[in-house]
């Protein structure tokens, strides 16, 4: 499995972690009656907290991933007999090269996630038309952002596995 695929998996993992944590947080607050379907403010603040947590968690997970990956490459190179510092650094740098294929895959997968966000926006509007409580709309928007994140990663993985065509 390549560096790009592993990185994508860690991104999907981050998004899943945030989705599960948000779900658990909301369930707990519902049980504690500190959140309801009439007030928007607690929902908006909860979502803002989780957006911030999502960004922080992604940064931490990516840092940990890069440290572990560098260690594993260094160990592999040492076992292969390339124990010179320069060789190991070169191997680490080579494994993390981003090029035109990766840019194309990122572009195509982000286009797919944009469709997902758009669909979420329309679904949120439909929920208002159907007279659903406003927190439902907020949750649809937040959910589509998180699911779009996961969807983008999944599409990227498929492109890495199946290949990607120009045009």
């Amino acid at each position: 499995m390549s560096y790009q695929e592993k990185r994508t998996i860690t991104e999907i993992f981050s998004a899943l972690l945030i989705l599960i944590a948000y779900g658990l947080y909301i369930i707990n607050r519902f049980h504690a009656h500190t959140i309801n379907m009439q007030e928007l403010k607690p929902w908006a603040s909860a979502m803002l907290i989780f957006v911030g947590l999502g960004i922080i968690a992604t940064i931490i997970i990516q840092i940990l991933f890069h440290i572990l990956l560098s260690i594993s490459i260094a160990v592999k190179e040492s076992v292969a007999g390339k124990d010179k510092g320069q060789d190991i650094n070169k191997a680490i740098a080579n494994s993390m090269v981003g090029d035109e294929m990766h840019k194309l895959i990122e572009l195509k997968s982000s286009r797919m996630s944009t469709f997902f966000y758009g669909f979420g926006f329309i679904a949120a509007l439909v929920s208002i038309v159907l007279s659903s409580p406003l927190p439902v709309m907020l949750n649809i928007l937040f959910g589509s952002w998180l699911l779009g994140w996961i969807f983008e990663g999944s599409v990227r993985l498929i492109y890495y596995r199946k290949g990607v065509r120009n045009g």
Binding site: S2, Q4, S95, V97, M101, G163, V164, R165, N166
Partner: protein, 75 residues
């Protein structure tokens, strides 16, 4: 009706004749990742013209010796 072009390549053969050059070595010469070379070799990715020239240059041959194309039927 647009015709579909299937791009084929001789990278595997050229690597063999280049002293069994590894995919990693070719990737380093062309300035891309090994994964991209693997995808091009397997026909899963069609490189840009710039990258195609860089790959040809890595083998010291003309681009036509590395890449070829086949016209597929009307789509």
């Amino acid at each position: 009706m647009a015709k579909k072009i299937e791009i084929t390549n001789n990278i595997r053969k050229l690597r063999f004749f280049a002293n069994e050059m590894t995919q990693q070595e070719l990737a380093e010469k062309a300035g891309v990742s090994r994964q991209t070379i693997v995808a091009i070799e397997a026909g899963k990715y069609s490189p840009s013209l710039e990258l195609a020239f860089l790959i040809a240059d890595a083998f010291g041959v003309k681009i036509g010796e590395v890449f070829d194309y086949e016209m597929k039927g009307d789509k």
